[in-house]
């Protein structure tokens, strides 16, 4: 009984805050995210495209937790970073961007990702 009373004092306000946040929307208490906004991609005509150009895949994600916290970097810069080692001579072209969502336990944990498939060509 003592245990229930002690944890009730902690759980009740916590549930109240969670409920309020649930009704109010996600990521309200703390938000620190980077979202993709705009990008005009390079096309095969911008590089010396060849059939042997490698295809690269990449993803960048942001996360929501308990309807209160929202963090992560799902921006274009992040999803396209680190894919080309020699940026002076090679470039990403013809990218396809998608967004993917995964949600668990009534949305207590959500993962939102920007997914990219592109090719790397010689400049």
């Amino acid at each position: 009984m003592k245990f229930v009373r002690r944890w009730g004092l902690v759980a009740a306000p916590a549930l109240l805050v969670l409920g309020a946040a649930f009704l109010n929307g996600c990521g309200e208490f703390y938000t620190n995210t980077i979202d993709p906004y705009s990008y005009r991609a390079e096309t095969p005509a911008d590089v010396q495209a060849a059939p042997s150009d490698p295809t690269v895949h990449s993803r960048a994600c942001e996360y929501y937790l308990f309807y209160l916290f929202n963090w992560g970097d799902a921006g274009y810069a992040k999803v396209m970073s680190g894919l080309v080692k020699d940026e002076a001579h090679y470039m990403i072209y013809d990218p396809k961007f998608d967004q993917t969502y995964q949600s668990w336990l009534l949305g207590l944990y959500i993962r939102e990702c920007t997914v990219m498939t592109a090719r790397v060509g010689h400049i």
């Binding site: 309020a20 946040a21 009704l23 109010n24 990521g27 309200e28 208490f29 703390y30 938000t31 620190n32 995210t33 980077i34 979202d35 993709p36 906004y37 705009s38 990008y39 005009r40 991609a41 390079e42 096309t43 005509a45 911008d46 590089v47 921006g75 274009y76 810069a77 992040k78 396209m80 680190g82 080309v84 080692k85 020699d86 940026e87 002076a88 470039m91 400049i123």
Partner: protein
């Protein structure tokens, strides 16, 4: 009769209007009790790709910058849905960021391969909020655009190892 002709003209014009280009401004919104509001945000741009570069353009490698809009919201009651007293200021526009990049690279003639992201930051249910526009692009210089005397030259493009 004039009304019927007008109605017919509107109905004919509607499908064309649906295809009109719509810009999506990214600007901190105006609230009910706003005591100060002076914000600028990105609206639209058509960035260049490599093929659009003018002849003789010299690649300067990766360039980038960011600029922010900020907002403070003071709730008028102890409720998450409370009306807030708001003040917002900042310039997160493309123009401001480009000016910042030009300051760092005086020989810059333009940018291409532009990736634009929005960095959203908010604490304590939105009491403080910021929306920063950040650009990562590649810069180019033209043969005639020599750096001003005394200004530092742009660094060489950094190749990753």
């Amino acid at each position: 009769m004039i009304f019927l002709w007008g109605l017919a003209a509107c109905l004919v014009a509607r499908p064309a209007a649906a295809q009109t280009y719509m810009a999506h401004p990214r600007i901190i919104s105006l609230k009910t009790l706003t005591v100060f509001y002076h914000v600028t945000g990105p609206l639209s741009t058509l960035p260049m790709t490599r093929r659009d570069l003018p002849p003789g353009a010299v690649d300067l490698g990766e360039v980038g910058g960011r600029s922010c809009q900020r907002e403070v919201n003071i709730p008028t009651s102890a409720s998450l849905q409370a009306t807030t007293i708001t003040a917002a200021e900042g310039n997160g526009s493309y123009g401001k960021i480009l000016a910042k990049i030009r300051k760092k690279h005086p020989d810059l003639a333009g940018i291409y391969d532009v990736k634009t992201d929005i960095h959203n930051f908010s604490v304590f249910f939105g009491v403080y909020t910021s929306a920063c526009t950040q650009i990562l692009a590649r810069g180019y210089a033209l043969p005639g655009s020599a750096p001003k005397p005394g200004a530092p030259a742009s660094p060489a493009p950094a190749a990753k190892k």
